[in-house]
Amino acid sequence: MRLDSDMVLIGTGLAPLVAAQILLRQGKTVLLLNPEYDFFGENSEFSFDPFFPWAGRETAMRLRDSESDAVLREIQPEFPGSIEVWPGAPAGFRDPLAPFLRVRNRLIVGRKEDESWAGREEVALHAMEKGARAQSFEGWDALKGFPGVATAKIVDPDRYRGIVIPKLADVDAVRFRNGVREFVRERLGEDRLVVGAAPIEFTTEGVRFRKQGKPVNVRVAEGVLTFWTPKLTTWILSLAARHEVKPSLPKGIRLWEEWSLLSKDPVDPSSIGMIDDLVCWAEGEGDPIETDGKRLGVLKPGPLHPISDRSETFRAWENEVVSGDSFEKISNLCDDVLRWGRFTLRSLKVRQTFEWEGHYPSFILFREKFESRVVTGSEGFVADVVRTARIAATRFVEDVRP
């Protein structure tokens, strides 16, 4: 069976799936290639924006983008099913397997002796200028809503102060990706959604890849969109070098450690807490009330590695990820802030995202019989990924329209 297509999409996560359904809506024939085994191995997509680093006007802009209404506006049109909102009306039908958009407060807590607090407040002020209803608290009021805190054991609440930004959203990333994937697979058919397609090469007519060990040649009529996630970095940089393109490179790849701790008591799901550079939240998919609610997720930024060293640094990464510093920070969180006494580690994942300086423009690899573009910004908060994919797909169609 020939797989010749108008568009070929290459990627490992949510972005090519969203782009595929947008292009399908426009009547294009689409082939979707994922060099990885499946779409579930992608580790660069977050359920919420970690707002790292928390500084400057840019964070205030991102806060606005994370408001629940904005996120819902962004993701709802691109999801082929219902999206449940929590907390929502208890009456009526609720699809328990649908991706949930949880509306929670973002609680930024700091110690009074913390010198960087002024900078944090400044971000809140910028956010308020843009319409956010930030509030500041001190002492007990600042700390009591922090996820996982053992309120009965707090002895020094006066050390803390906090800022609350209400009604920010987080989204079930896995459910969202799976929902879009199932829809796209159904629309494209089995043959046109290819996983384990590696290596992928460009030819004058289109693309060539191996599927279950057999070579497949595909003609491309309009173009190829490659959604750049950290896993594709080596391949994309080698393509850029081959086509003599000098793309804007990110500052580096940021490693993230996502710790899952087991709490003795249910974790308050109403807010996502931030202290120092750690983000804490009541972990779980769907309705937080219906889960056991005893897991505390902690996201900790790891080292940033320059992208130029990519090919040789993974050994160095191993040195720095989940290091003594990580354990110190987590144990300080559990001991000093949450007052747990000791912590139980339930799971641990390492994630990777790009860190850009300012803008991160997509770039064109080549423009011959067809055009090949590399789309940046395909990782991070799910809503951002959806936006990136939508813009990339629609712009491409507009650009190539005669």
Binding site: Y37, R181, R185, N319, D335, T344, L345, L348
Partner: protein, 667 residues
């Protein structure tokens, strides 16, 4: 600063997965010594006081193992290749009642037998017919268990033949066990002890009485070791070897050979300039693959016994008599070993035990082309010591004496029953190779084997006594087992009495269980005490060495503790912390049913186990997937998912068990 945080780097990290009963086993030693030989640095993580908590796959290949020591200190171990040893999957596919507390996993049951935690004097059913299952089943019969049925649910892939080692099966059947090819349907307790185990075979549903079901597997063909994803140098290998070679010679040898192959693969991947070592590596690979192939040959060429009524069919008997392991002439003069081990298997314990080199299994193995096979048994060299009879885990060899022109001959058996051997002059029932009674034989006497002045090193004898039985000459080649006459119940009684007259009786202490007084042994894990007192909980099913499942939580004197990790002491008050309702769910922790799981997989056309697990949440419950991932893989295989993908999945998710750290210790 954290003072107690240690970071170490190895080329190859060999880590123990959860619940391993032995560490290190032969595979660990073989793997580390071989990779060291090629200049790689290998490190072991496991054993007492050192718990691998999981592996974070690195970007590319290798990974980072996080380890906790007995003092609660954290260690991070970087490795270019990681090999994890795991237990073979023993969890059965869900059926009605599969989470009943009476269903034990094989590893749990083995521990309870070793610990004599309760008396196995009720009928037992065993799921799976692998060698370990058959050996366990035979052990129960020898200990006086009245009825043991082995249920093989996957006859489709010739599970019975795979269990292979036909001698093991024969031994089990000689003792009165039965093997049934059937699929479990339901289990239901109908009395305080006995339950009804319904299975479906070719003729329909049949009911088997069973007090306990022990699940051993294997429930699907296993490759032994695997890498996932390919090229990641993250390997998983099954621990099939026990502490001592004699415990499971085939499993020992399999693990040893697999470890060699793995070591060669790792060396090829990690050593850039192999030079002359390349030939050595290739030789190791060739040799090990050839040995494994040879061990597997009996899967293809089983020696099937055929009977005419109780009697071995003429053609088969002719084959038996012509087999090179049995005597041809010398047994007319005196008792001579008859090594009736017809398959080429990995075990060579009889060969090692023989003080005169009369037995050499490699004579048969080394034949090539048209070269006539040389005899396994050098009958003229046999000194009738009986060591081979006692050294065989399956009691396969016997000694036969068939005086020419006489009506009575003699067969010497290994006495493996739990009670004392019969006295001279008493009578025993003679059994054929499938356990049918042939008649009676008079005991001429019993004796220990004749140990030569130089006992072979490492020799393990499975019994202290040889029993010499006078047998009619026409039964010398038929009688291959003995048992006390049915009317004589002392075998059962002795075992029962022996277990109940435990020397530890004086050490019993009083505890309170949900407000009731109980007397239990002092110093044993609470979980074992539950088994011993007859209070079984499905949450104790895994009976972990390391508390890795976290299921068996109880409240001890007001504090939550794991029952498997907390020792009994006088006066402790134990309370249950959750209901012990049994479920038939694929994932008992999260309540995910098989049908819902498969429906989700089918709807989503999920192509890998990772996708299926991520999408359904399976494996993220309290037991960390130890109860559900194995059955889920089989469900996926049945659902038509690519078996290679399914088998390729390794659970590298972190951690394998909860990790409790006192922040104070990190400061």
């Amino acid at each position: 600063m954290i003072r107690n945080f240690h970071s170490t780097r190895f080329d190859v990290a060999i880590v123990a997965g959860p619940r391993l009963p032995e560490w290190p086993t032969v595979g660990v030693r073989e793997l580390s010594s071989l990779v060291s030989k090629f200049g790689l640095e290998a490190g072991w993580v496991g054993g007492e006081g050192l718990f691998a908590k999981g592996v974070l796959p690195a970007d590319g290949s290798g990974g980072l193992a996080l380890v906790e020591d007995a003092q609660g200190r954290a260690h991070r171990i970087q490795a270019r290749a990681v090999v994890r040893f795991v237990l073979p999957d023993e969890t059965p596919s869900p059926f009605e009642g599969s989470s009943h507390p009476s269903l034990l996993l094989g590893s749990t049951a083995t521990k309870l037998v070793d610990d004599r935690a309760f008396v196995w004097n009720e009928p037992v059913s065993i799921l799976g017919s692998g060698n370990r299952a058959l050996r366990f089943a035979r052990g129960l019969l020898e200990r006086g268990c009245p009825e043991v049925s082995v249920i093989e649910p996957f006859a489709a892939w010739d599970g019975k033949r795979y269990a292979g080692w036909e001698v093991e099966r024969r031994r089990f059947e000689i003792l009165g066990g039965r093997i049934i090819e059937a699929i479990p349907v339901s289990f239901q307790k109908v009395g305080s002890a006995i339950g009804e185990f319904r299975v479906r075979d070719q003729r329909g549903v049949r009911v088997i009485e069973a007090a306990k079901i022990v699940s051993f597997g294997p429930f699907s063909p296993t490759e032994g070791f695997k890498e996932y994803p390919p090229g990641s140098l993250l390997f998983e290998i099954e621990q099939t070897a026990p502490a001592a070679r004699a415990g499971d010679p085939e499993g020992w040898m399999l693990e040893e050979e697999r470890a060699r192959v793995l070591a060669a693969r790792i060396a090829k991947a990690l050593v850039p300039e192999l030079g002359s070592s390349r030939d050595e590596i290739e030789a190791i690979l060739r040799r090990s693959r050839s040995r494994m192939k040879r061990m597997g040959r009996y899967l293809e060429e089983p020696f099937e016994l055929a009977f005419t009524g109780k009697w071995t069919a003429g053609a088969v008997l002719k084959n038996v008599k012509s087999f090179s392991g049995v005597p041809k002439r010398a047994h007319f003069e005196k008792p001579i070993a008859s090594v009736e081990c017809f398959e080429t298997i990995g075990c060579d314990l009889c060969e090692r035990a023989c003080p005169t080199d009369a037995i050499r299994l490699d004579r048969l193995r080394s034949r090539k082309g048209d070269e006539p096979p040389r005899s396994i048994l050098e009958e003229t060299a046999c000194i009738s010591c009986g060591l081979c009879v006692q050294a065989c885990p399956s009691a396969t060899p016997v000694m036969v004496h068939e005086p020419e022109g006489r009506s009575m001959g003699k067969v010497v058996f290994s006495w493996r029953e739990a009670d004392e051997p019969p006295e001279a002059g008493s009578f025993l029932t003679l059994l054929n190779r499938k356990g049918d009674a042939l008649g009676t034989g008079r005991v001429l006497g019993h004796r220990p084997p004749d140990r030569p002045s130089e006992t072979p090193a490492g020799l393990v004898l499975f019994s202290e006594f040889l029993v010499e039985v006078e047998v009619p000459t026409h039964l010398v080649w038929e009688a291959r087992g003995v048992r006390r006459p049915r009317a004589h119940a002392s075998a059962v009684d002795n075992e029962f009495l022996r277990q109940n007259a435990r020397e530890f009786l004086p050490d019993r202490v009083e505890i309170s269980w949900n407000g009731e007084r109980r007397f239990v042994r002092n110093g044993i894990p609470i979980s074992t005490a539950f088994f011993e007192t007859g209070y079984q909980r499905s949450s104790d099913r895994l009976l972990c060495e390391d508390g890795s499942c976290g299921l068996c939580e109880v409240e001890v004197d007001g504090l939550k503790q794991l029952a498997c990790q907390t020792m009994v002491r006088k006066g402790m008050a134990i309370k249950s912390v959750r209901d012990e309702a049994a479920s038939d769910d694929l994932c008992p922790c999260l309540g995910i049913q098989e049908s819902a799981f498969l429906e989700r997989v089918e709807q989503g056309n999920l192509l890998s186990v990772d996708a299926a697990l991520e999408s359904t949440g399976l494996g993220s419950g309290r037991c960390h997937g130890q109860l559900c991932v194995g059955p889920a893989k089989r469900c996926l295989e049945r659902a038509g998912l690519d078996p290679n993908e399914v088998r390729g999945h390794l659970d590298w998710r972190f951690p394998w068990s909860d990790w409790k750290i006192d922040p104070g210790k990190l400061q």
